[in-house]
Point group: C2
Chain length 252, copies 2
Amino acid sequence: MAHTEDGPRPKYQRIADTLREAIQAGQYSPGDRLPGENDLMAAHGVARMTARQALGVLRDEGLAEARKGAGVFVRSFRPLRRRGIQRLAEQQWGNGRSIWSADIGNRSLEVDQVTVSEETAPERIGAVLELAADEPACVRRRRFVLDGKPVLLATSYLPMPVVAGSEITQEDTGEGGTYARLADLGHKPVHFREEIRSRMPSKDEVARLSMSEGTPVILICRTAFTAKGRPVEVNEMTLDAASYVLEYDFDA
Amino acid sequence: MAHTEDGPRPKYQRIADTLREAIQAGQYSPGDRLPGENDLMAAHGVARMTARQALGVLRDEGLAEARKGAGVFVRSFRPLRRRGIQRLAEQQWGNGRSIWSADIGNRSLEVDQVTVSEETAPERIGAVLELAADEPACVRRRRFVLDGKPVLLATSYLPMPVVAGSEITQEDTGEGGTYARLADLGHKPVHFREEIRSRMPSKDEVARLSMSEGTPVILICRTAFTAKGRPVEVNEMTLDAASYVLEYDFDA
């Protein structure tokens, strides 16, 4: 029972706290209209500016969004659940299912942009893939859309000497996707490393992911290794943080 | 080789791209001064406003920071690497090491604030812990500081009926921490679920974590289960995203 260092909280913060708790308790559901400035002024006996600041706090936190002329509403957060570990389990891609299908249940996650090219990989990628200076990478760039909203940009790098001539160099990689093809080629991925960061998006990312103001991106860099420890793919993913919950389940 | 939808990029974006690539290639290291507005105007033949916008892009992305009167510098990103899975492996907490020690190598991560209390858990936590309406939770709130900078807030909830009378209700939980004590009590955690989100911080979080502008928080909600599947701890963590890389390693 040690030191708490809370000073007195300003009034607008306490009003925001009350609204936040009501949202978290389910008293207001996603899409519901929150009390407006006039309501808050009457209920808490505060000035308009204070009421406005309270609603501003919730907007800044991404809990609420203003709709012009209509008021402030609880933001819908109906995220995709990306299960890192189950998702990559062999039984999923081993039998022809895409590794993405586990994400979405009955919601339709679709690739709406694909490019495949042969390129010199950026230095950081070349280093991880252990590419010789003259070895190019096969680069697969995809954008994924959920219910019409782009949610994920993925850029996948594979050593060209490994994948040349396979369907991995095509837009459509066939049943089971890239990992099933790597297995066909004798480079079955069996070990994975995922590294996760978060930052504010670039203007370019805001545009490509149609992101709302004040929303960060989650970056996942996934490296796939064969049983011999050879790295065969690096996939740099950029996720709209408002659209995703990542989940990892594991044993001690 | 499909549709690319890139239009012509504005000049300031292209200058920002050049600087970004130079930073990523290590041409400028963390703490280095970037070319100033005058340098960029001369090098690229652009107006001051364009040079300023280019530097603004890098600042908005968290890659660079302005220091008053001194210029724009490459931001230090020397993050903690939090290894989700190895970190919770039994050999670590089983022999008296704190689960946090794997994070830090020779850097000193310290708890600078701790409170322990008996409380009614919020509904979402009570539901996960399967608490009866009248069962309180033991709530452990800690702040972790690295090199003097707060980086992590952790609020841990445990069922009071399980932990009453143990060191878990004390500030100092003893060798091996909470998980070793749960094992002593016959509730050894063996399975973990971590759920990860990211959002902008609340004003309160900005203050408690001394966060820089334009930096999101990463939220990790970890649930620990016994071999019988009983949830014995929910730990809600709030991380300064500028201070952390999360890592998960696993097999297919």
